[in-house]
Symmetry: C2
Subunit: 218 residues, 2 copies
């Protein structure tokens, strides 16, 4: 489903260049549940942003469902239709409630209101924050915000979910139920997962663990 | 050093009240290294914000070094002089580099420039981001931001450090060195630590583990 070929990315920092990814090649098949681990600063978020069509590599190519992405318009469309993304810092919309944040991707997909409501409420239950559906993000605890971010990424049951440290703020019981939720989508709906994590509680459940150090996939 | 007596706090949410803390009583002695654990949404951040003089309880009292805080002016002063705080979402100043974010508490303390530079560089080394001292927060990885937040809380070697999930975004090796850094300040300088965490790698090293569930300290 996802193929990276010799992907490289570096950042300009003042006069220097920070090499974040060095010729990374990676193949992920449909329905796989893959963990990406590595030290802090090793390039996990950078790689996920490229796989999630949020950013472009300096070199190399990315194929999603066998096809490369040409141009911003196509990237935006495919990102919206084919990928659910859990950001490392959650990326919730501050002026929208938990319910509205989770509903948002469904608005873009043109789903009718009654079905949206039913789908969002199911997700709120699944991540255990039904009682907080009307809270704005600043009226939610860290782990509650993280769970809204997870629910938002999953609500459309997209073919590919990319999650960047999705359990970092969660206690063990909550983390375990998030893993179970993701696995059920994976095995039940064939959703593919690529998860950056240093959390053993998460990587322990993955089919495959890819390791990255200093921008190099080993 | 820190005494909470029957501290209660609830939040208004629309017409409802969300009880976050229920008559919490807690005593922490000088030089103790205490973990506060509990499920997501159980009240950890709320309790830490009160202990850190960032927020006030609805009921009950807080004594810091035996003395209560009266009035905003005194709270600001004592917060600045006596407490280092690691926020769950880091709270870095976006327009300031890693170096400047860590230096900031020293500016408020009137330390001369040469000593400040020396102290900040020591902290940057201690948290392993010396190479990124000039990066702004958005040019840092999640775990690098977290380490800047830790360095900023420790740079003044305050009598009390309050840390809210300080290792959430860190790989195991980095997390272990952060714990070692904090313990050395604790045992070497007698700094007291109150750390909210669900991270076993952290709580395993604490003298004491306090558990909170639904706003009640057991
Ligand atoms: N905009 C940027 N400008 C300069 N350097 C950057 C930028 N974004 C990231 N970097 C650097 O690129 C490297 C890789 O960052 P990345 O966020 O991919 O790491 P990571 O593996 O996700 O780390 P963590 O586990 O701490 O989240 C880091 O050293 C970081 O400082
Ligand atoms: N401003 C607010 N308005 C309304 N409710 C709030 C507000 N801030 C926090 N809460 C609620 O108070 C409860 C306690 O929140 P708190 O942030 O203290 O939990 P926590 O233990 O730190 O959780 P986590 O482990 O997820 O970070 C949560 O249920 C949260 O939704
Ligand atoms: Mg990252
Ligand atoms: Mg919290």
């Amino acid at each position: 489903l996802l193929i990276c070929n010799q992907v490289s990315k570096s950042y300009r920092q003042g006069s220097a260049r920070v090499p974040a990814l060095r010729q990374v090649s990676l193949r992920i098949g449909e329905g796989e549940f893959v963990a990406l681990t590595g030290p802090s600063g090793s390039g996990k978020s950078t790689l996920l942003n490229i796989c999630g069509l949020l950013d472009q590599p300096d070199n190399g190519e990315l194929l999603l469902a066998g096809r490369p992405c040409h141009g911003e318009r196509e990237r935006v469309k495919r990102r919206r239709d084919e990928i659910g993304f859990v950001f490392q810092n959650f990326g919730l919309i501050p002026v929208m409630s938990a319910f509205e944040n989770i509903e948002y991707p469904l608005l873009l997909s043109g789903m009718p209101a009654a079905r949206r409501k039913e789908r969002v409420e199911r997700m709120l239950d699944a991540v255990g924050i039904a009682d907080f559906s009307h809270h704005l993000p600043d009226a939610l605890s860290g782990g509650q915000r993280q769970r809204v971010a997870i629910a938002r990424a999953l609500v459309k049951e997209p073919p590919l979910v990319i999650a960047d440290e999705p359990t970092a703020n969660l206690d063990t019981a909550t983390a375990e139920s998030m893993v179970a939720l993701m696995k059920s989508l994976c095995h039940g709906m064939g959703v593919t997962f690529l998860i950056a994590t240093h959390d053993e509680r998460m990587s322990a459940h993955c089919d495959r663990i890819e390791r990255i150090i200093d921008g190099v996939l080993s």
